[in-house]
């Protein structure tokens, strides 16, 4: 999201929205960590790239929740 240069309250609000929504999601951080690990293993296998050269981010499409 793009904000006006000095609109710091919107930055806080967007960050809080994500934090507050992921609070109520029913998943364990252990499961998410495991999912990321498996995906990165898969990516390294196909692209022959070590895991520390890329990053996995998971976003739930329906409501743009980043987990």
């Amino acid at each position: 999201m793009i904000f006006h240069k000095s609109d710091y309250s919107s930055i806080a609000k967007e960050r809080l929205k994500i934090m507050m929504e992921s609070d109520t999601l029913e998943y364990s951080s252990k499961d998410i960590a495991q999912l990321k690990k498996e995906i990165s293993a898969l990516v390294s296998r196909y692209f022959d790239t070590p895991a520390d050269l890329f990053e996995i981010r998971i976003t739930l499409k329906q409501n743009q929740k980043r987990v």
């Binding site: 006006h4 710091y8 309250s9 919107s10 806080a12 609000k13 809080l16 929205k17 507050m20 609070d23």
Partner: protein, 252 residues
């Protein structure tokens, strides 16, 4: 029948004790009979903020363990028409075992007072569950800091599952100037994030620290904060009979 209102926040240092002291004093000036309960066992402070620390003989733990009668533990603040305090104990004890006794005590207080204001300890441990277990209504104190807002959202989540049926927010350390510059989260931002009403805001006011140094509630002085606390006290009463729905937060 009175109302039991717990003041909670999750994060410490956002102004729970200051707010209770001043809203308690404010409500008593509006002809309500008020008792303030400090449940922050081991770290009691409400008595100090009120300047009543020299008048303590018995405390909440003595009451819960039947070592004294209610009248012996109630400290009357003589500067206000109908304001009483029950201080916390100096001893920090596990509170789980006292929940039943606490429920009985607060039922009794409800029949004798218009408002029973509970000062909840910071954090979301046993003390939090103890303090919130008996309340009908909760007021979550926050400051516009991202950490305080985050913690408050956890607290709101945890209140789901208690018998509390009404939750409102009060924003402390609110600075209109910074909000206009978009440096600080606004009342509307916060209302939108939580989807519960903001009862009011309290500005930063140096008179608060002066009043606490002297051991008197700031509502007895002339200041910005005094006007806000008196406004908030009135809001708490009028809000009570509100039936528009906009002010009632429904957990279902």
């Amino acid at each position: 029948m009175g109302e039991i209102i717990v003041f909670t926040s999750g994060k410490g240092g956002v102004g729970k004790t200051t707010t209770i002291a001043n809203i308690g004093a404010g409500l008593s000036q509006l002809d309500k009979k008020v008792v303030m309960l400090d449940t922050d066992m081991g770290l009691r402070n409400l008595d100090v903020v009120m300047g009543l620390e020299d008048r303590i003989n018995y405390n909440l733990l003595d009451l819960l363990e039947n070592r004294c009668r209610l009248n012996q533990a109630l400290i009357k603040d003589k500067r206000f028409p109908n304001l009483f305090l029950i201080p916390a104990s100096l001893k920090n004890v596990p509170l789980g075992q006292y929940e039943r006794a606490f429920a009985i005590l607060t039922e009794q207080l409800k029949s004798e007072f218009d408002y029973c204001l509970i000062d909840c300890p910071a954090g979301i441990d046993q003390g939090f569950h103890f303090a919130t277990s008996v309340a009908d209504r909760a007021i979550i104190l926050i400051t516009p800091h991202i950490s305080a807002v985050k913690d408050a959202s956890r607290v709101l989540h945890l209140l789901n599952g208690t018998k509390i049926n009404k939750v409102e927010l009060i924003i402390n350390e609110y600075d209109e100037k910074l909000v206009r510059k978009k440096y600080m989260l606004s009342k509307n931002d916060i209302e939108e994030l939580f989807d519960i009403p903001v009862l009011g805001t309290i500005p930063h006011d140096y008179k608060v620290i002066i009043s606490q140094n002297k051991g008197i509630p700031v509502v007895t002085m002339h200041s910005k904060a005094t006007r806000r606390f008196m406004y908030l006290s009135k809001q708490m009463i009028t809000d009570c009979s509100c039936a528009e729905g906009a002010y009632a937060y429904d957990f279902s």
